[in-house]
């Protein structure tokens, strides 16, 4: 209780609230620009969070994530183009609603669904995390190694594209994490004469390179369509009517939010999967499934409550085990490491004020999102008028200075370029990025736990005789089997499609 009050004191001050508000506003802006992703937005806020204390830094990134998840619905509804990939299913009914003359209603329902989804996922986060973290306190190096193995294998098999490519991405990520000083013996590895590499690659330029720089290059190659938004269209809708709309679909709201939370907890499966999955399930449960796709409010409710509720879900494994649920939480994990905080089961015990602070900030971010998006919608629509060739140079410079600012050295800008190239190559070659970044972040922990386990007992069968470790290894194998199955099924479907053509 004392920690909770302390967290309230830490969060409820003008500075932190302003930071959260800025984060939410930036998130909505980034989310509403097609071609820019939430991960890119969070990567760009990393350098700013670096100079803040951990609570404020995480609050800033939390704001961007919550704002970005709901910002995607603006263009999804008004243009039929999702502002972010996690608003894909929002277009299915949001856009037809706008075409039917219900622009204000579509946006209001989407916004309030996002709000309810975020709040519900926050409640699950608060209830689940302490329980899981306490359970994980008994974990030894065997269980920790098995847990991380499961995290990486699940993220590789659940990510889009082929399983082999997912695994390659994860293993390359681990390979890059090996650069620097060996965690147990202090021997330098793969430094190739660069003293700057003795501490390994810094997370910040790596994350900005992989997520922001590579995305900018993709935008340069294929710019998003110039938008012709009708900013004069009526985008306002009474709050009471919106609440009534949601109340008549309360089961859908709760079901979709819970789907979002569950999907968020799974490694790799973030807002984009939650968005599509809950839409599909809402359609199956609907009494009038044929109206989906023609402007049914339940389609927007399902899609928007799920993509926002996946945020809280993704935080559960990150705070309880130190394993991120998606790319954005992977970056937040990296940010905590930059601040010298080791995420994992002990985080709840060692930094309770920080953890409770994260819990509280998700709720406040949701409230800010509701207020900012309600009142600023016309301004956010205008931002889409700015051509990308004006935005790209500014963002590219932010990438450069953000990377430089970590250690005040130009070497980190070279690291940015290297990982920007790697990220761009991976994007172009359909290698998923989340396993790569998870590999880089978890690599040192995987190695440390494996070697500690072997040092204590060189018998490898211990991994299978300890129940939790054995279950996690079996789960890792099962997730790989699922990956192989879905790959085979996918290629068979593709062949059938080709033959039919």
């Amino acid at each position: 209780m004392e920690n909770l009050l302390l967290s309230f004191e830490t969060i409820l001050n003008m500075k932190t609230l302003l930071i959260l508000l800025c984060g939410v506003t930036v998130g909505i802006i980034i989310g509403s620009i097609p071609g820019f992703t939430i991960t890119m937005g969070v990567a760009l806020t990393l350098p700013f969070s670096f100079s803040m204390d951990p609570v404020n830094g995480i609050a800033l990134m939390m704001g961007v994530q919550v704002g970005g998840s709901s910002g995607g619905l603006i263009t999804a509804c008004l243009l039929g183009i999702p502002g972010t990939p996690s608003a894909m299913a929002t277009t299915f009914d949001g856009y037809p609603m706008v075409k039917n003359g219900e622009a204000g209603r579509a946006l209001a329902i989407g916004l309030w669904s996002s709000f309810v989804g975020t709040i519900l996922s926050g409640i699950v986060l608060v209830l689940m995390t302490p329980l899981l973290a306490e359970w994980a306190l008994d974990f030894g190096p065997w269980e920790m190694f098995a847990l991380m193995l499961f995290g990486i294998s699940a993220i590789a098999s659940l990510s889009e594209g082929s399983l082999v490519k997912g695994l390659i991405a994860g293993v390359i990520g681990i390979a890059f994490s090996l650069v620097g000083t060996d965690p147990l013996l202090g021997t330098s590895r793969f430094t190739y004469g660069f003293t700057e590499l003795l501490a390994g690659f810094d997370f910040l330029p790596v994350l900005i390179g992989v997520f922001a720089f590579s995305q900018l290059m993709a935008d340069i190659k294929k710019p998003a369509n110039t938008l012709d938004l009708k900013t004069d269209s009526n985008v306002s809708y009474p709050i009471l009517k919106t609440i009534k709309d949601l109340w008549t679909s309360k089961l859908n709201v709760i079901r979709s939010s819970l789907i979002g939370v569950f999907v968020g907890i799974l490694p790799a499966a973030g807002g984009s999967i939650a968005n599509i999955l809950s839409y599909d399930i809402a359609k199956k449960f609907s009494r009038k499934p044929e109206t989906f796709g023609t402007g049914n409010k339940d389609g927007v409710i399902a899609a928007e409550s799920a993509n926002n509720s996946s945020i809280g879900g993704a935080f559960v494994p990150m705070l309880a085990f130190g394993i991120p649920g998606d790319a954005v939480t992977a970056m937040m994990l990296g940010a905590l490491l930059i601040h010298g905080i080791q995420p994992g089961p002990l985080l709840m015990q060692n930094q309770p004020v920080l953890v409770y602070g994260i819990f509280i900030s998700i709720f406040i971010a949701a409230i800010f999102m509701l207020i900012v998006q309600s009142f600023g919608i016309k301004m956010f629509l205008k931002i889409n008028d700015i051509p990308q060739h004006v935005l790209i140079p500014l963002i590219l410079m932010l990438c450069v200075l953000g990377s430089f600012a970590v250690n005040n050295r130009v070497f980190d800008v070279w690291v940015l370029l290297l990982f920007g190239l790697i990220g761009y190559w991976m994007k172009n070659s359909s290698f998923p990025l989340p396993p790569f970044i998870l590999g880089i972040i978890l690599g040192p922990m995987v190695e440390q736990n494996l070697r500690q386990a072997i040092t204590i007992n060189s018998d490898l069968t211990v991994f299978m005789t300890r129940p939790i470790s054995a279950v996690l290894i079996v789960l890792a194998v099962l997730s790989m089997a699922y990956g192989i199955y879905s790959n085979i099924k996918g290629s068979k479907d593709a062949e059938k499609l080709l033959e039919s053509k």
């Binding site: 490519k165 090996l178 340069i220 004006v390 140079p393 200075l401 430089f404 494996l450 040092t455």
Partner: protein, 162 residues
Amino acid sequence: MREARKDLVNSLIIVAFCGIAYSGILEIPVRGAAKTEADFFPKIIVGLLFVLAIFLLVKSIYGMIKQEKRDNKKERVDWQRLFKENSKVIYTFAIFSVYIFLLQGIGYFISSVIFLFALYLILMPGKKRYITGIIGSVLITVLLFVVFRYGLSVYLPEGKWL
């Protein structure tokens, strides 16, 4: 480039990466002081990556053979078209590399203005790009200098004059 051919090139890149990493493993000093040495985990990871790369290589060759059988002709890579499609990205990477060199040598101000101006020329169509380029590059350089220097207390690289 079709997916299978792309994967063939990718798998070869990864095999080459494994080769470089293996040469790095050979340089790790082994002290014989612990059950697991510093080269223990890198060997596992590079070995695993090599196996996965070979798997991708075999898969891509199989895919290419299947593709050729289906289309009944050999696929040719149109390098000119490929370069044209990616030209903006290639130029951006190139000027960015030059920018980092300049950043070290002549400092933040002049190098950033030159880089941003060049970037505007690449990205913007039409004659207006020269004026927009000059105004935009100076504006962004000054704005970010103020934010980072006075807002975040970051000392940006200084050159001889600025």
